[in-house]
């Protein structure tokens, strides 16, 4: 994560620019979509100029004849996806800089693309400590930026996604994007000597029952991150390798399930809570053996079990006692 420290420096340098030139978007940078109609329209028009080329539509019908279409193909975005992302409502140039205002884009414009830490400075500082301890930092520190995993044009934080199925789909796609692709894995592993061969995910997880079901139901990071010591960060960015990853099923499969403070941290309590289920918030999306239990039913079954054993033992003891008495009398 070379970017974070550099980003903080860049942030200080660019602070003046942000205050003077980009102040119109300051509120949007903090996360809230703009509400001023004039500003919304200005951003829409500004972004439309970018989308003129950087979309599938732009690729199919290029507005200019001098575009390098092969290069453009790598830089295509989905406006709908962006509008649903955390950065919705932001002008492309907030991150991509003024060098992209005109075409051909300015030489060195790429170098002026803002780093995440320029806006997310506090978070980046907290994340950096965790990232430094992660398996990614150990092997590929210089190659990893926030964008390696988090596509700023698409990413949505779990709190905004809400639906656990959507959170799982988005977050696991980040992991398997590399860990299930020889091509992409090799982009990173090429720098390691000896070059690391991508391990097969199914083989690695052979110990895990219902592997595929787990991948659909929970995020890789449920097991591959420790509990975040920073309260404001729901999940740690210390990605754990297979040796340190959670292998104790009961961490999730119990009434004190870690899922309640991880994947289901933002899940709203639903009506099933009235039925007395433990971890009822999970039930809306999944049934988790050991976690989503009903203590009332469990107690009822336990009492029935205890009564049955007591009656049978009592019946047996009485039979034995009376049989002994009969035997004594007859002898």
């Amino acid at each position: 994560m070379k970017s974070v420290t550099q980003s903080l420096f860049a942030f200080a340098v660019l602070a003046g620019v942000a205050v003077s030139g980009a102040s119109a978007f300051a509120a949007e940078v903090k996360g809230a979509a703009p509400s001023d109609p004039a500003l919304v329209e200005k951003i829409r028009q500004s972004n439309a100029a970018c989308y003129g080329c950087h979309t599938e539509q732009g690729l199919k019908a290029p507005p200019r004849a001098d575009l390098d279409l092969e290069k453009l193909r790598q830089l295509v975005h989905d406006p709908a996806q962006f509008d649903a992302s955390n950065h919705a409502g932001m002008e492309c140039t907030v991150c991509h800089g003024q060098g992209y205002k005109a075409f051909p884009h300015a030489a060195g414009a790429k170098q002026s693309i803002s780093e995440c830490g320029e806006c997310h400075a506090t978070k980046a500082l907290r994340i950096e400590t965790q990232f430094e301890a992660s398996v990614h930092a150990k092997n590929f520190k210089e190659q990893f930026t926030c964008r390696t995993c988090h596509d700023p044009h698409a990413f949505r934080v779990a709190a905004k996604l809400g639906d656990p199925h959507k959170i799982v789909a988005q977050d696991n796609a980040m992991c398997v994007g590399c860990h299930n692709s020889d091509l992409r894995f090799a982009l990173f592993s090429a720098s390691v000597t000896p070059q690391k061969v991508r391990p097969d995910l199914d083989t690695l997880h052979a110990w895990l029952p219902n592997t595929r079901l787990h991948w659909q139901a929970v995020r890789c990071i449920e097991c591959h991150t420790p509990t975040s010591p920073v309260k404001s960060l729901g999940m740690s960015h210390e990605i754990l390798g297979k040796d340190k990853a959670e292998k104790n099923c009961v961490t999730c499969h119990s009434q004190e399930t870690a899922l309640a403070t991880r994947l289901y941290r933002f899940a709203a309590e639903n009506g099933t809570a009235d039925l007395g289920f433990a971890n009822a918030a999970i039930l809306d999306s999944a049934y988790v053996v050991g976690a989503t239990r009903n203590p009332i039913v469990d107690r009822t079954v336990g009492v029935l079990f205890g009564l049955t054993v007591a009656v049978l033992l009592g019946h047996g003891a009485l039979r034995i006692a009376l049989a002994l008495i009969r035997r004594r009398r007859s002898s």
């Binding site: 029952p209 049934y287 049978l312 047996g316 009376l322």
Partner: protein, 204 residues
């Protein structure tokens, strides 16, 4: 010398003991999964899950065998309580278990080649084997292949009603097993009925 009658063919005894072992394994591992994290006596979760899956599939096979063999051999007829006076015979049998057995009374309806079970036994066995165990088997299969579970039922994840039925039906089978094993001690001698389940010969 006591009188002996041959009641239980080999296939039935083999099925019975296979079924018994599977049910016990499934009960222990099932409880370990459901009450995971509740105590040190439980089988570790991952191991319990694997054993439960394997034993569950074996139970599906043995249950299928039981149904088919019962049809082919005609043994299914033993599970049908024969009128008239079914309720009266059930009552008499219950009174025996609750009173007569303590006085050393003889069994009111000792097994015969024609009727292996007394009326109460036939009804309970029929309910367990043809109503409760199928629920366990079917819900267990859905658990094994959760992709076939409905996505949602009653506003919650579709697997919850399946799991709930599996848990309740499984618990009923376990309660039945406890009573079944205990009643196995009510033969001429404590071990007589267990011996019968091994040799096939009933001792009177």
């Amino acid at each position: 010398m006591s009188h002996r009658i041959y009641l239980l063919p080999v296939w039935l005894r083999l099925w019975h003991w296979t079924n018994a072992v599977l049910m016990i394994v499934l009960a222990i591992t099932g409880a370990s999964l459901h009450f995971a994290g509740s105590g040190p006596l439980l089988v570790p979760f991952s191991l319990a899950a694997r054993i439960h899956d394997i034993a569950g599939v074996a139970l599906v096979a043995t249950y299928g065998f039981f149904v088919v063999a019962n049809i082919l051999s005609g043994n299914w007829w033993q599970y049908v309580p024969k009128p008239p006076g079914v309720l009266g015979r059930c009552w008499r049998q219950a009174v025996y278990y609750g009173w007569g057995i303590f006085k050393g009374d003889p069994h009111p309806y000792p097994p015969t080649v024609e009727a292996n079970f007394n009326a109460l036994q036939a009804i309970v066995y029929w309910l367990i084997m043809y109503a409760v165990v199928p629920v366990v088997v079917v819900t267990g299969l859905v658990f094994l292949y959760p992709q076939f579970a409905p996505a949602k039922m009653f506003g919650v994840d579709g697997l919850l009603p399946v799991a709930f039925l599996h848990y309740i039906a499984g618990s009923v089978v376990i309660l039945f097993m406890l009573a079944h094993i205990y009643l196995g001690t009510t033969g001429v001698r404590v071990t007589s009925l267990f011996k019968m389940m091994i040799t096939g010969w009933h001792e009177e």
